[in-house]
């Protein structure tokens, strides 16, 4: 399991070759890339900002959960920050597993959870010179402290 946040270009073959084992019959690489338009507006490029310290631990949690669901610990995930151009890779996810279904499932889980809860933001620059923060997802609220709401019957007199 390997997860990191980087402001350097992502070497995708390195990400893919970091997974795989003799037990695995499937290896999968997913890339997220910057596209040339968003909702009809021509895009010049994108800046990704992150809460770096927190993003590193959330990414590691997400990969751990995906590995648990899919039954593999061969997962690598890297997310880019900084200025990106059209076509640049913003996220790379590699998974290997004995069979294909688990690898697809794990990679899908990782990208969906990244979109839901990784503390990263996109500042999109358009060809007309304007720029804006993209609308994002509101991460799920954490469960209330269990001490604050004792389960019935557990409160001592």
């Amino acid at each position: 399991m390997r997860t990191w946040i980087t402001d350097e270009p992502i070497d995708v073959s390195d990400v893919l070759s970091s997974v795989g084992s003799d037990a695995d019959g499937a290896a999968l690489l997913f890339l997220g890339t910057v596209r040339e338009q968003n909702e009809g507006r021509p895009v010049q490029g994108m800046r990704y900002d992150a809460y770096a310290g927190m993003a590193a631990s959330v990414l590691s949690e997400i990969a751990g959960e995906a590995g648990e669901r899919a039954g593999t610990d061969r997962i690598s995930v890297v997310h880019r920050t900084g200025e990106l151009q059209i076509g640049d890779v913003s996220v790379a996810i590699a998974v290997s597993s004995p069979h294909r279904a688990e690898a697809f499932d794990a990679a899908r889980y990782v990208i969906e959870q990244i979109k839901l809860r990784l503390p990263v933001w996109k500042h999109e620059h358009y060809t007309d010179g304007s720029a804006e923060w993209l609308d994002g997802a509101t991460p799920p609220a954490p469960a209330a402290e269990s001490a604050a709401v004792p389960a019935p019957g557990t409160v001592k007199p």
């Binding site: 900002d49 996220v91 990208i111 990244i114 990263v120 993209l134």
Partner: protein, 81 residues
């Protein structure tokens, strides 16, 4: 007590603040600390009343208590990927 306040992305642009060492009432929850800040500093009035927050780099609820030296981050809706 003092805490370290961190703002990101849109919230940074709205307030002009990225990082601030602030005094908050002893024993305050995150929500109370934010209300206190809002009352003292107009820049924070531009933020939503109930932003998503993290305390010491973990998502937290606004009614979570703060301790001296905590890192409180205000997080706009996230957009990774």
């Amino acid at each position: 007590m003092r805490i370290q306040l961190l703002l990101f992305a849109l919230y940074r642009d709205l307030t002009g603040v990225s990082e601030l060492d602030v005094q908050v009432p002893d024993g305050a929850t995150a929500g109370v600390a934010l209300a206190d800040l809002r009352a003292r500093d107009a820049r924070f009035g531009r933020l939503p009343e109930r932003p998503v927050i993290a305390i010491n780099r973990e998502y937290a609820l606004l009614d979570a208590p703060l301790a001296d030296g905590d890192e409180l981050a205000l997080l706009p809706p996230v957009a990774g990927g």
